[in-house]
């Protein structure tokens, strides 16, 4: 599923420019002489909600990094260990982790089974933290992959124009025409079965690299199109012409003159891409084409929970709530970054 519209992406691309000091002159807090990035940092720091959301996301990452600590010190189990025939003390009396009818216990709010157990008697809190690692790693890696590939393709198409542009733009059209979830699920299922064997690179079928690759490819057009558009405009500007006139090679012009000017677009896209990648990972895992069992991710946990929702709704609520919390914090933070980088958006909000 796609959460940024193409029009938004395209118009966004042309709006973010950092060399707009005249536009900023009206704001008294923004003294002259500061670089555009420092100005952005200042504006962002004033946006308390965005900062708080960013902190929430960082805390979530920290919690998931501490997963082994929680597992060994507090819960005293592993994400894969079954406790089907075990008992825990609840209100002083021993209770089956999974009862005779297969109904797992709900949250105990104690170290063991803090958030309850799943149908296999596994500790949900432990799985939630380990699953979060997978969800977040996939989200971050896929977003960086999209940025790397989309940036290169967009710069190439926009700077060299001509045949390179035709081929790349056409490839983007083809990618755009694919139903995203359908393509992702088809690729994910096919790859999960046989893995990928590209000469020296071999990827196992259950590797996280597969969902990362699929998701990063799926979002390329969202980034490549605005980067191409900006590059097309930038290459006609005087400073690029001056660099060329000085005899700089085109590679150097692209990296030292054009790239710094599209960097703001990348910064705006990053948090939103991570948020969408986490959501797409969950969707793929829900349809069985993302993270492969017994590994956990928030998406696979929701998928497993839906099977048992009538007896244990907490199996669906808990991982979904974590997912929503992380995506929401990223979205709010991302909006803050966008407003801080784009003074026009700022003006709009202050209406």
């Amino acid at each position: 599923m796609v959460f940024t519209s193409r029009d938004e992406a395209e118009s966004a691309g042309t709006e973010f420019s950092l060399d707009s000091s005249e536009q900023l002159a009206g704001d008294p807090a923004e003294r002259a002489g500061l670089g555009p990035w420092r100005l952005t940092g200042r504006r962002l720091r004033r946006d308390k909600v965005a900062i708080a959301s960013g902190i929430v996301f960082v805390l979530l990452i920290a919690a998931c990094l501490a997963a082994p600590l929680w597992a060994s010190e507090v819960a005293e189990t592993t994400p894969e260990e079954n406790h089907l025939s075990d008992q825990v003390l609840i209100d002083g009396k021993p209770t089956d982790v999974v009862d005779m009818l297969g109904k797992p216990i709900g949250p105990t709010w104690n170290g063991h089974f803090f958030l309850g157990a799943d149908g296999n008697g596994r500790d949900i809190m432990v799985r939630l933290l380990y699953g979060g690692r997978n969800s977040l790693v996939i989200g971050l890696a896929a977003a960086l992959g999209t940025i790397a590939m989309g940036l290169v393709l967009g710069l190439l198409a926009g700077y060299y124009r001509g045949r390179a542009d035709s081929v790349i733009s056409w490839a983007m059209d083809v990618l755009w025409a694919f139903p995203v979830v359908l393509l992702g699920v088809a690729l994910g299922t096919a790859l999960a079965l046989g893995g990928l064997d590209l000469g020296p690179i071999t990827i196992q079928g259950d590797s996280l690299a597969i969902p990362i690759l699929i998701i990063s490819i799926a979002y390329i057009p969202y980034l490549a199109r605005p980067v191409r558009g900006q590059t097309l405009a930038l290459r006609e500007r005087e400073f690029v012409e001056a660099a060329r006139a000085q005899g700089m090679g085109s590679m150097r012009v692209v990296f030292t003159e054009v790239l710094p000017n599209v960097a703001s677009t990348l910064v705006v896209f990053l948090p939103l891409l991570v948020a969408n990648a986490i959501l797409l990972e969950a969707a793929l895992s829900f349809l069985g084409a993302g993270v492969q069992p017994p590994q956990a991710s928030w998406g696979t946990m929701i998928a497993e929970g839906v099977e048992r929702i009538t007896s244990a709704p907490h199996l669906v609520i808990v991982p979904g709530a974590m997912l929503v919390l992380s995506v929401l914090s990223l979205n709010i933070f991302g909006e803050g970054v966008r407003d801080a980088l784009d003074p026009r958006a700022r003006v709009r909000i202050e209406h």
């Binding site: 599923m1 059209d173 025409a177 359908l182 096919a190 990928l196 064997d197 997912l323 929401l328 979205n331």
Partner: protein, 324 residues
């Protein structure tokens, strides 16, 4: 229609066909080049003998060169004679069966999300900065941060299974009982719409606020129009253009497979769920057919939006002309 416009439409249609061709080749290659297993071996059953596999390979033409297999597949696709490898059912008949379900879901949801997004976007633009606007902003962000299958499963459990207000998934034909049809679709429509309501209402809100600062709005006020008339006739009409564009694109995308998760959660058995089931078996013919069906909708709605824009704005036609 001017000749420039006619040329634009023709060029747009040609590129559409080329894109669809590329999509079909990519899908075909995914399932023939990736090591996802030999379909003949999987079709032959649990313990296949070499001769059985060989016979299937010959019967289905898996021993032919790839380009011949691709040609056969396309011919079957367009003549409606495509057969699933595993269920042996006719693929176009299955898609045809699922289509009214997918369309019921997509059309109803599209109307719901557009109506609510306009109402909420207009309301929060008029109350910009007020408490109610902030609440709506937060709600919209929550809406775009929720996976549709999660909120769908929770709605189905709490409002369907537990409270018993709505049916717990499934679909009833409109012809059988219009009321049951509607009642079964209320939750799926809502679940599918939440994301778009959140997204569109935000876009509309900022567009309205931007339009309110335009000169023509000041002129309309200055010539004495009532605030209500200014708002509906001048501001809203202009601010609607971007989200109507999105509406066209998203509607195409929802039919094309965007509803796959909603259909699976609510067991609607539409085209999307058919695709999901076929993918689990790596059943190439239905996957190919549904992907082409989906890509067709996406491409057609994209082209319609482009052509509508070109018809309204002559500059786009000029920009679209190859510069080389």
């Amino acid at each position: 229609m001017s000749s420039a416009m006619a040329r634009f439409v023709v060029r747009r249609l040609l590129s559409m066909l080329l894109v669809l061709f590329a999509v079909s080749v990519v899908v075909f290659l995914i399932f023939n080049v990736l090591p996802s297993g030999d379909p003949a071996v999987r079709m032959a059953g649990k313990i296949p003998t070499e001769t059985q596999v060989e016979a299937i390979r010959e019967e289905w033409g898996f021993d032919e060169p790839l380009y011949v297999q691709y040609g056969t597949m396309m011919k079957q696709l367009f003549s409606g004679e495509m057969i699933s490898y595993f269920t042996r059912q006719n693929v176009s008949e299955e898609i045809w069966k699922g289509l009214p379900r997918t369309l019921s879901l997509a059309i109803g949801a599209a109307i719901l999300w557009m109506a609510l997004a306009i109402a909420l976007g207009l309301y929060s633009a008029l109350r910009a900065g007020a408490f109610s606007d902030r609440v709506l902003t937060v709600l919209a962000l929550v809406g775009i941060s929720m996976p549709v299958f999660w909120i769908g499963a929770l709605m189905s459990y709490y409002l369907g299974y537990k409270a018993g207000i709505f049916p717990n998934g499934g679909y009833v034909e409109f012809a059988d009982s219009p009321f049951e049809w509607l009642w079964h679709l209320v939750l799926p429509w809502t679940a599918l719409s939440i994301l778009f309501i959140g997204f569109y209402s935000r876009v509309l809100r900022s567009d309205i606020l931007e339009t309110m600062g335009e000169d023509f709005v000041r002129t309309a006020r200055a010539k004495g129009l009532s605030e209500r008339r200014v708002l509906l006739k001048h501001v809203l009409r202009n601010s609607l253009i971007p989200i109507v564009t999105l509406w066209g694109l998203d509607f195409g995308a929802v039919i094309a497979g965007g509803a796959i998760l909603t259909e699976s959660v609510f067991d609607i058995q539409g085209v999307g769920q058919y695709a999901a089931d076929s993918i689990k078996q790596l059943d190439l013919p239905p996957i190919m057919a549904v992907t082409m069906f989906g890509a067709f909708f996406i491409v057609v709605f994209n082209a319609m939006v482009d052509i509508a824009y070109a018809a309204l704005d002559p500059r786009i036609r000029l920009e679209g002309r190859p510069s080389r």
